[in-house]
Structures are given as structure tokens and as C-alpha cells.
């Protein structure tokens, strides 16, 4: 079969119709991964036993493929009577996988805060929760903006994995077109171009935000 450019362009609107799915799945997964990663890191710091348990959990998540984690959630949960919509499983999978990486980012961010900050907060009589929320977190966010932004771009680039568990994001939509028409090359190429443009644009925006954040920090 020869490559048909006209058909490739024809598939563009169909694929773009799934752009919003890709975007909101990305945003939900970024939020999930950040919250879960922060909880993992805070738990890791809460005691000796927990530090070993959490360290192992983080290493396990980081040492297994995202695809396999998605299969695990998708095929194993229903076996225990938990049937969730595919996109919920997908967001869970992306959140869990990237929480392992973000926990390390949070670790570096917290380690970068001088000890005097903890001590000053304690001497002012703040409770542990208040110390974390109002003293540590704001300073940490500035330290970790750059690596966290990079992981958010990675999450965007990982959303096409969800096509394998039938989430109708852009790659899923392209595969649908392909299996309907028996033409695979054109929709794949189109979805490739769309993802490339999207990823480069978002990466650029993230870099601009970093620069602004660093400027405001230097004030």
C-alpha cells in the first residue's frame, strides 16, 4: 500500500477531536502524581521503618514498565470486583508510575532547604502539619519547579500508553481509524506530528514558566 497524504490530512480532525481527552487526562495525572509523590516522600521521612518500606515501594514503581503497571491495574482490579472506567485506570496508572519519580524530586527539594528553617518553625511552636504546609512546601516548590515541569511534559508524552487500555485519547482515536480503514501508516504519522508539536509547545511553555519563577524568586 502506497502512502496517501490526502488520507493522512483527512484523519487530522478525528485525531484532534481527542485532543481535549489527552489534555485533561494529562492534567489529572500530573495532579495525581504530584499529590501521591509528595505523600510518598513525607511518609518516607516519618520514621525508620516507613523509610525502608517507602524506599522499596518507590524503587519498585520505578523499576517496572508503565505498560505493565497499566495492564496490572486494568486486568487485576476487576478480578477483585473493582471495575473502573478505562480513563480512571489510566490516570491511576500514570499517577502511580510518575509518583515514584516525583517523590525523588520532592526529596531533593526538601533536602535543599536549610535545617534552620525547620528549627525556626519548631521554635515558633508550629505544628508538624503547619511546618510542612507553610514553611517547607512554598520553599520547596521553587527548588523543584524545573524538574517537576520536565516530568509533567513526560506525563503528557506517556498519555498515548493509555490507548492500549482503550482510553480514547489521540493515539487511541488514530488506532480506531486505522482498524476501521485497514490503513495504519497515515493515522500513525498524523498522530505522531500532532504529539510532536504539542510536546515541543508544552516543553517551551514550561521553560518560560521556569524563567519567570526564577526571576520572581530573585526579587
Amino acid at each position: 500500500m502506497k502512502f496517501n497524504l490526502a488520507f493522512a490530512i483527512e484523519t487530522l480532525p478525528v485525531i484532534l477531536s481527542a485532543l481535549w481527552t489527552t489534555i485533561w487526562v494529562t492534567i489529572a495525572s500530573c495532579a495525581g502524581a504530584a499529590i501521591l509523590g509528595f505523600l510518598l516522600e513525607i511518609t518516607r521521612r516519618s520514621g525508620r521503618v516507613m523509610s525502608y518500606v517507602m524506599r522499596f515501594a518507590i524503587d519498585f514503581v520505578r523499576s517496572t514498565p508503565l505498560l505493565v503497571q497499566l495492564y496490572f491495574l486494568y486486568f487485576v482490579l476487576p478480578f477483585y470486583g473493582i471495575t473502573l472506567p478505562a480513563f480512571v485506570v489510566g490516570i491511576m496508572g500514570l499517577s502511580i508510575y510518575y509518583s515514584g519519580y516525583l517523590a525523588e524530586v520532592f526529596k531533593a527539594g526538601i533536602d535543599g532547604i536549610p535545617n534552620g528553617q525547620f528549627e525556626a518553625a519548631q521554635s515558633l511552636g508550629l505544628k508538624r502539619f503547619d511546618i510542612v504546609m507553610f514553611v517547607i512546601a512554598p520553599q520547596m516548590l521553587r527548588n523543584i519547579a524545573a524538574p517537576m515541569g520536565n516530568y509533567f511534559v513526560s506525563i503528557l508524552k506517556a498519555t498515548p500508553y493509555l490507548a492500549v487500555i482503550a482510553v480514547p485519547e489521540m493515539l487511541g482515536e488514530a488506532m480506531e481509524v486505522a482498524s476501521d480503514t485497514f490503513r495504519y501508516a497515515e493515522p500513525m504519522l498524523t498522530v505522531g506530528v500532532v504529539f510532536l508539536v504539542l510536546a515541543v509547545t508544552v516543553a517551551h511553555l514550561v521553560r518560560l514558566m521556569e524563567v519567570r519563577l526564577l526571576k520572581s524568586a530573585r526579587r
Binding site: 500500500m1 502506497k2 502512502f3 524503587d59 519498585f60 520505578r62 523499576s63 517496572t64 514498565p65 508503565l66 505498560l67 505493565v68 503497571q69 495492564y71 496490572f72 486486568f75 487485576v76 478480578f79 508524552k157 506517556a158 498519555t159 498515548p160 500508553y161 490507548a163 492500549v164 493515539l171 486505522a178 495504519y184 501508516a185 500513525m188 504519522l189 498522530v191 505522531g192 504529539f195 510532536l196 510536546a199 515541543v200 516543553a203
Partner: protein, 219 residues
């Protein structure tokens, strides 16, 4: 089938996982070195060209890259084996990330090193090979090991283009036995067994490189 039997069945696919990983490295390492060095040396339009090639491989989602090349190459008359296409797509994606480690490592060297080489009358290429690369190598090793782990995990994708790697074997076993809980748990464990030693090794190297770097700075 017991858990151990399933695990042994999954490791039947280890050969494919390993050969895609190794062939992938055969693409990734030369690409990372050549393009990292080129990006370090070029300026103006040449640099834009080099950066665009790197960005293409780095910014496209790896699953999309794999599908684009697997389905598009035959339409332009190029037929390659599944392993070759997978090694190329996965390898060059990882190579794109690796090139940034090479460039960053070269840029982080003290300019005095190059000047000293020039003062000794060495040619630019000699300075690169004899002075810059050996020093940069240390800084980029931890990133290379991390990318190697990413590549192993990425090979799970080849199950989607019908290569019988560990993930593919697990899917077969799951269909035959209808025991997704044990099968996918075993698959997670299998990847953990393969990747975790590399994670530990990477951490050890990182620590060594960091400590050595500091002591050199102190002198």
C-alpha cells in the same frame, strides 16, 4: 500453574527483551555521543539543524515513534524486521535524552581545560578526545545508566508489535490460564528482577562520581 512456573514462562521472553535492549543501546550510545558533541560544537543554522533532530527523537512519545516507524516504513518500500524497527525507535529516543547528558557534561567542564590543550598545541579534535571526553564521561555515566533502565522498561512496548518479549509471554499465559492476578504480578516481579540491579548499580556510580567530584573541587 504456580507462581514460579508463570515466572519461568515469562522469562522465556527474556531473550527478545534483552536483544531489543542491546540493539537499542547500539543505536542510543553512538547517537547520544555524536549529536551531543555536534550540539556542543555547532553554532547558527547548523546548531538549529542538530537540535531539531535531537528534539524530534526526544520530544515524540516513544510508543508513537514505534508505531509510526513500524507502520510507515513499509509504505515507502522499506521492510525491516520487528526487532530492528523497535531497536531503532526505542534506541534513538533514549539516544536523544543521552545526547543532552553528553552536551551538559561537555559544557560543565572548566574552559581552562580547553585553553590548556590549545596552549599545548593540540588540535581541537585531540582536545576533545584526549581532554574533554574522558572528564565528561564521568559526569554522564549516571544519566546513561538511568536511560539504560528506561530502555529496558521501554522494550515492554514491543509486545504491541507482536514480538514475543516478556510482556507478550505474560499476555499469552494470562489468556491460557485465566489467572491475571498471578500472571501480571509475576510480570511486575520479572521486570523488577531485571531492572533493580541496574538501579542499585546506578545509585552506587552516582555516589562515587559525586564524592570524587567534590574532593577534586576542594583541592
Amino acid at each position: 500453574m504456580s507462581f514460579v512456573d508463570i515466572l519461568i514462562g515469562i522469562f522465556d521472553g527474556f531473550g527478545v527483551t534483552a536483544s531489543v535492549t542491546l540493539w537499542g543501546m547500539a543505536y542510543a550510545v553512538p547517537f547520544a555521543l555524536i549529536f551531543g558533541i555536534l550540539q556542543h560544537f555547532t553554532t547558527g543554522p547548523a546548531r538549529v539543524a542538530v537540535t531539531s533532530i535531537i528534539e524530534f527523537w526526544r520530544s515524540s512519545p516513544v510508543i508513537v515513534l514505534l508505531f509510526v516507524f513500524y507502520y510507515s516504513l513499509p509504505t515507502v518500500g522499506i521492510t525491516l524486521s520487528g526487532i530492528t524497527v523497535a531497536a531503532m525507535a526505542l534506541g534513538l529516543n533514549i539516544g536523544g535524552y543521552g545526547s543532552q547528558a553528553v552536551r551538559a557534561a561537555l559544557q560543565s567542564l572548566d574552559p581552562g581545560q580547553v585553553e590548556a590543550g590549545k596552549a599545548l598545541g593540540l588540535r581541537r579534535l585531540q582536545i576533545l578526545v584526549l581532554i574533554e571526553l574522558p572528564q565528561a564521561f564521568k559526569a554522564m555515566t549516571p544519566t546513561f545508566i538511568n536511560q539504560f533502565i528506561q530502555l529496558i522498561k521501554g522494550t515492554a512496548l514491543v509486545s504491541l508489535i507482536t514480538l514475543s518479549d516478556m510482556t507478550f509471554r505474560a499476555k499469552e499465559i494470562s489468556q491460557l490460564q485465566y489467572d491475571p492476578v498471578r500472571t501480571y504480578t509475576a510480570l511486575l516481579v520479572a521486570y523488577f528482577i531485571v531492572c533493580y540491579p541496574a538501579t542499585i548499580f546506578g545509585r552506587w556510580v552516582e555516589k562515587r562520581v559525586a564524592v570524587k567530584g567534590r574532593s577534586q573541587g576542594e583541592i
